[in-house]
């Protein structure tokens, strides 16, 4: 599904020329260009965008949990081109029991902490990430707080017990 405005956008045109398979959707809503790619092509798409369109920095990487739906996680990459003063949103969907996809740290070193944050809060695993550990939550935390099935008030945490009382 590629809408008219997006089809005319130079980035989308170039991406479609490069490969026909990776764009599953592209649209412009509220003046923001979004391209959706398949999860196994994210790294290629990102590398392409960086090389060909000078999206030299990744502004942020995050995820959205659309819980009952499947695949439940929407991974969102916001890219920024300083040279063209342009922003683009790259989206992909992953789901399943243990969601995972390729890390983009090989494209931008700055993706490191954002991916760790997504791993920490959503439990999405990034393959080939140099240091995939929890970043915001304690190391021994159980569960992933930003998932919709994680209770809003968290779990009861017993601070007195040295072991076993880490969470839940």
């Amino acid at each position: 599904m590629i809408d008219e405005a997006a089809a005319a956008h130079p980035v989308v045109i170039a991406m479609r020329q490069e490969s026909t398979s990776w764009l599953s959707a592209a649209y412009i809503v509220l003046n923001e260009l979004t391209v959706e790619v398949l999860p196994d092509r994210v790294v290629h798409a990102c590398r392409f965008l960086r090389r060909m369109h000078q999206f030299e920095r990744v502004s942020t990487i995050t995820a959205v949990d659309r819980y009952p739906a499947e695949p439940r996680f929407e991974l969102v990459y916001h890219l920024h081109s300083l040279a063209h003063n342009q922003r683009i949103r790259v989206k992909t969907r992953v789901g399943g029991e243990s969601p995972s996809l390729e890390s983009v740290t090989s494209v931008w070193a700055g993706a490191n902490w954002y991916e760790r944050e997504v791993f920490d809060l959503f439990g999405i695993e990034f393959k080939n990430h140099p240091d995939l550990t929890r970043i915001l939550m304690p190391e021994d935390w159980q569960g992933h707080p930003l998932r919709k099935d994680f209770p809003i008030h968290g779990h009861r945490y017993d601070y007195m017990e040295p072991e076993g009382g880490s969470a839940q």
């Binding site: 509220l30 960086r50 030299e56 942020t60 003063n85 700055g110 954002y114 930003l146 809003i152």
Partner: protein, 413 residues
């Protein structure tokens, strides 16, 4: 350029690993656990430093001590209620966070705010920038050892906080900028209060420059310290004054004007030295530019309404509520349930004092956001820390930490 070195080299630096090793195999380096309680980490940042003498061999920042789950909490509040949480993200640039979130939601609602609200927002956000830069200047100077500077900066900040209190009733957690406009109309006498401050402040900035720039010890401590290749800085996601000090002219106020910034005349100061001193100069010049913007906003402040004419979003006036049935119904709806926001997603970027501040708001059509993600500048900037301080002396580590101007609330959210 994609073959940049990985951010964190093989992990040596957990205290336990090193201490439990037998003495013969113990590395000659010393592991120093800097923070989370340390005067110069500006909050609860922990940096595990591996030292060879006083040189940093390897650094690993450890964050999350101030994680309060604001993003999760936002999902459980109505759109208007969530404004109060955005204050708490960056306690030195609360108005900027208010503004960014509010702009994002307004974009989803496709709501136009009246010009008075826009101009007032610009003025307050620039005052916030002054506030943040003042605190930065004071603490940075104190890190380097110039104790007096801190008190001078706090003196001016006190005036600023009084102004904020005058507007919102709160010194720090203002929540003054609301969806649809402002919380209240500007208080009586705000022009005099801001005017008085603006009269003295420019000379104070000069005074700071005199105090610091004419001090050879201070200059020696910061010139040529904390340099990193520009490409690497961009790659690591550094934004704001740190990037402008490296010669890249990027500023959301110019690149993607919001809230009517295109109507103001100001410059984006950049320097190319890319050291701590350049960062200092960028921030000092930014203070001067902010003064210009505030003066323009003050001089040309439009009259009229301070809230949008959108009865479904903005609470009705007290008077109308008591006389009109419709207004009463809207009031009841907004207070009990909140307003519905059309489904969609938006990524709003503004220039906070620390750099690129982005709010990614996803709505599923209900009155509570599905997801609010905060792209905070401190988080992005802090990623460069390990690279910036590698191979430096401990004293330089302090100077560089100071120059990065991060707020731990902003990092951990």
């Amino acid at each position: 350029m994609s073959e940049v070195p990985t951010l964190e080299a093989p992990v040596v630096a957990d205290l336990r690993q090193v201490l439990e090793a037998p003495p013969e195999t113990r590395p000659r380096t010393m592991v120093l656990n800097m923070g989370p309680q340390h005067p110069s980490t500006h909050g609860v940042l922990r940096i595990v430093l591996e030292l060879d003498g006083e040189h940093v061999v390897h650094a690993r920042p450890d964050i999350g001590f101030l994680h309060t789950g604001i993003e999760k909490q936002c999902e459980n509040l109505t759109y208007q209620q969530a404004v109060t949480l955005t204050d708490r993200v960056d306690y030195l640039a609360n108005m900027s966070n208010n503004l960014c979130y509010v702009l994002a939601v307004e974009k989803l609602l496709q709501l136009e705010v009246p010009p008075r609200a826009e101009w007032m927002r610009v003025m307050l956000v620039e005052l916030t920038r002054l506030n943040s830069h003042l605190v930065w200047l004071g603490t940075h100077a104190m890190d380097v050892g110039a104790m007096t500077m801190f008190f001078y900066c706090m003196r001016e900040r006190e005036d600023l906080l009084r102004i904020f209190e005058m507007f919102s009733g709160q010194r720090m957690m203002t929540s003054y900028i609301r969806i649809g406009g402002l919380a209240l109309d500007a208080p009586r006498g705000w022009e005099q209060a801001v005017g008085r401050f603006m009269q003295t402040f420019p000379s104070r900035v000069d005074e700071y420059e005199d105090l610091l720039k004419k001090n050879p010890i201070w200059m020696n401590r910061i010139i040529g310290v904390g340099e990193l290749d520009v490409a690497e800085l961009v790659d690591l996601g550094v934004t704001g004054p740190m990037l402008r000090a490296a010669g890249i002219k990027t500023d959301a106020r110019k690149d993607a004007p919001y809230s009517g910034y295109e109507k103001f005349d100001f410059e984006v100061p950049t320097f190319t030295e890319n050291d701590v001193y350049a960062r200092y100069r960028v921030r000092i010049e930014e203070m001067r530019e902010s003064i210009k913007i505030i003066n323009q906003a003050r001089a040309g402040m439009p009259g009229g309404a301070f809230q949008a004419d959108a009865p479904k979003v903005v609470l009705p006036e007290r008077e109308k509520m008591k006389t009109q049935m419709e207004a009463l119904i809207y009031h009841f709806k907004i207070v009990t349930e909140g307003f519905r926001v059309p489904a969609g997603e938006v990524y709003q970027v503004i220039e906070s004092p620390r750099g690129e501040l982005g709010y990614y708001v996803v709505s599923d059509g209900t009155s509570k956001p599905l997801r609010v993600h905060m792209r905070t500048p401190s988080f992005g900037n802090l990623q460069a820390l390990a690279r910036l301080i590698q191979g430096k002396l401990i004293a330089d580590v302090i100077a560089i930490l100071g120059s990065m101007d991060f707020v731990l609330g902003d990092v951990d959210r």
